[in-house]
């Protein structure tokens, strides 16, 4: 018989990690194309509220997921229009996206605060009370398994396919990629929208499974953690997943510390992931001679001068 508390911790870790990981995977794709989007927090929020509203009104959970993904993606296209087409500063645009996203979602969700959901995203294999480690893994909902599939396929595409190589070329050296005949603007635009779609999926996971209800500012900084995770993972899907598990574990651990009899201060435990991320970033920069894995063109608008 495995310790019930341990299973609870494992389950909570997986869920918290999934939530963070999906958003950071989207950001990873966006950043690989050379676009930095600091608006993750806002995008998650939009996906969370639109998904929740759809679920309350239609009781159709799959429609809610789709709506959440699409609305976040459309919202992200604002960032794409401003930075890719209009070549404006990515840092600024991303920050505005966060502020706008939080405000718009609060406005939209005004009448949904405290509303109850009739349905939520169910465990895919209908396991209610897992009694061993395997069952904990099998008791997750569909988004968890999607996250695993995404990790494997995206990592494969980036590493082993021509498409992936070309895609990364856009973020590494847009001028060279352009002379090879790749469509820079189109690639970056689509990558930004895909990033938004992932953030939206993360948002619906938050309101339709993880919490599940809607209140203002419920993303609670997770968008920023997702951004940190991309760096932590050196822009690689597997390492980002590992980082998400670490952050998820700490998020799950904090409320359980006392039951384990530890005297660690929960507030201090909560900030350790950020300190670790800074340390990792510094070490990566020192030991790899500046090669942190960051796409070289990130943050620089592509402009084809004097053709």
């Amino acid at each position: 018989m495995v310790d019930v508390q341990f299973l609870g911790l494992l389950n909570a870790t997986l869920q918290a990690a999934t939530l963070l990981f999906i958003a950071s995977l989207g950001e990873l794709i966006t950043e690989k194309s050379g676009i930095l989007n600091l608006g993750v927090e806002g995008m998650i929020s939009i996906g969370a509220v639109t998904g929740f509203m759809t679920a309350v009104n239609t009781n159709n959970i799959y429609l809610a997921i789709v709506v959440g993904i699409f609305s976040s993606s459309i919202f992200a296209s604002l960032h794409a229009i401003v930075t890719v087409i209009l070549k404006q500063d990515q840092t600024v645009s991303g920050l505005i996206l966060t502020i706008l996203g939080l405000a718009v979602s609060s406005l939209l969700g005004k009448n949904y605060v405290g509303r109850k959901l009739e349905t939520k995203i169910d465990s895919l294999f209908n396991i209610e009370n897992p009694s061993n480690v395997l069952e904990v893994f099998l008791s997750q909902n569909i988004i968890f398994y999607l996250a695993i599939i995404f990790t494997i396929t995206i990592s494969y595409i980036l590493k082993n396919t021509m498409f992936g190589t070309r895609f990364q070329a856009v973020g590494e050296d847009a001028k060279a990629a352009d002379s090879m005949g790749l469509n820079i603007s189109k690639t970056q635009f689509i990558a930004t929208c895909i990033g938004g779609a992932f953030a939206g999926l993360s948002g619906v996971f938050l309101t339709l499974s993880y919490v599940p209800y809607w209140t203002d500012n419920m993303t609670a900084g997770r968008g920023w953690i997702a951004l940190a995770l991309v760096i932590f993972g050196g822009w690689k899907p597997y390492r980002t997943a590992l980082g998400a598990l670490l952050f998820g574990f700490l998020e799950a651990l904090v409320p359980r510390l006392q039951t384990y009899g530890f005297e660690l201060n929960p507030y201090i435990v909560k900030i350790t992931p950020y300190i670790i991320t800074i340390l990792v970033l510094v070490m990566l920069t020192i030991y790899k001679g500046g090669k942190t894995g960051a796409p070289k063109n990130i943050g620089i608008p592509f402009f084809r001068e004097n053709r």
């Binding site: 600091l38 209009l86 070549k87 404006q88 920050l95 505005i96 706008l100 950020y274 800074i278 920069t285």
Partner: protein, 352 residues
């Protein structure tokens, strides 16, 4: 193939940032009106009420300017750091650190002369903000670690530290529902100039002038601009670019720290998570949208202060506070879009 191609304009109108902002603000008002119409509210009534309640009387104008003060101070700090072409996303954390430094000094030292005590506390706020950006600054100049990320992460560390302090060592037993440190004594409150307008705003004006001078007229500002330009030019001119970057970051962080100190001594009077409501993030956009110009930051910051106050009072007529946030964000987006048309033009491809 594309019939039109994009070219950069050779000459950009000097006032383009100003016009962009103005047009952006008009766009934002239109967006705000549409949202209000959807909610069956009269936009004209709502906006005139917001106008009246934010700058219509001495008291409301004072509230607006008090609200603008931390935003402007933090924005100025960001503009100074941007002179060396670096970003500071950590203003939010530096604001909290400034407030923490004030409280730390306040509970450990006592000065009988309250004016000099306030002065000491404000200086410690500045040092607190500078301290907060120390790690990002050191790692940037020594190893070239991306400062956007490190300053962003320090926000969470400092806010975490604040939550720890107000729930642990500094917890005021008298504050039951809302974790906060004990209030500072009345003797260190920043006095008011008139009405509700705090001396903090005067500090804000002084620092705007100082930042303007530092950036545009001082030797240090000139050296910072060279250091932020090209590495080779800096070496040729004998300027230690890393040293300039380091000090620019510390000064900029100090400005944001001061914002936190002023906010504590004039508004909240105690350390809590309510010290900043995202001022640090809004400040970045305010600074960027004005092209990092101190005077512009002062004006736009004041307008945003008024918008926040106007936004928070219109709740009484059943309009969501978030309207103000949406107007702010749309103004900025609008300004970015308009700015594009000042900087680029479309040209027919066959024109050569």
């Amino acid at each position: 193939m594309n019939k039109y191609i994009l070219t950069k304009r050779q000459v950009v109108n000097e006032l383009s940032t100003f016009y962009s902002f103005l047009l952006g603000f008009l766009i934002a008002l239109m967006i705000g009106s549409i949202i209000l119409l959807i909610q069956d509210k009269n936009p004209f009534d709502t906006f005139s009420l917001m106008f009246k309640l934010s700058i219509g009387s001495v008291n409301s104008l004072s509230s607006s300017l008090n609200k603008a003060t931390p935003l402007i101070l933090a924005g100025l700090g960001i503009a100074i750091i941007n002179t060396v072409k670096l970003w500071n996303i950590g203003a939010e954390g530096q604001i909290f650190m400034g407030a923490i430094a004030v409280n730390l000094i306040y509970i450990n030292f006592q000065l009988t002369n309250s004016t000099s005590f306030i002065f000491v506390l404000l200086v410690s706020a500045f040092i607190g903000g500078a301290f907060c950006i120390l790690i990002p600054a050191i790692t940037k100049v020594l190893f070239g670690v991306n400062e956007i990320i490190t300053t962003l992460l320090t926000n969470y560390i400092v806010i975490g530290l604040t939550i720890y302090l107000v729930n642990g060592p500094w917890k005021d037993p008298g504050s039951l529902n809302f974790p906060a440190a004990a209030y500072v004594g009345k003797e260190v409150y920043l006095p008011t100039i008139f009405g509700k307008l705090s001396y903090g705003f005067l500090i804000c004006i002084l620092f705007t002038v100082f930042a303007h001078y530092l950036k545009n007229s001082s030797v240090f500002g000139y050296e910072m601009r060279i250091a932020g330009g090209s590495e080779m030019t800096a070496i040729y001119a004998g300027i230690n670019a890393k040293q300039k970057a380091f000090f620019a970051m510390l000064i900029g962080g100090g400005f944001a720290g001061l914002a936190g100190g002023v906010e504590l001594l004039s508004q909240t009077h105690r350390v809590s998570t309510g010290i900043s409501q995202g001022f640090g993030y809004t400040a970045i956009i305010v600074a960027a949208i004005t092209g990092m110009r101190p005077i512009g930051i002062f004006l736009v910051g004041s307008l945003f202060g008024a918008l926040s106050i106007g936004g928070s009072v219109i709740q009484t007529i059943g309009v969501s506070t978030y309207i103000a946030d949406i107007i702010q964000a749309s103004t900025l987006f609008g300004a970015l879009v308009i700015q594009f048309f000042f900087n680029y033009k479309l040209k027919r491809a066959d024109d050569g």
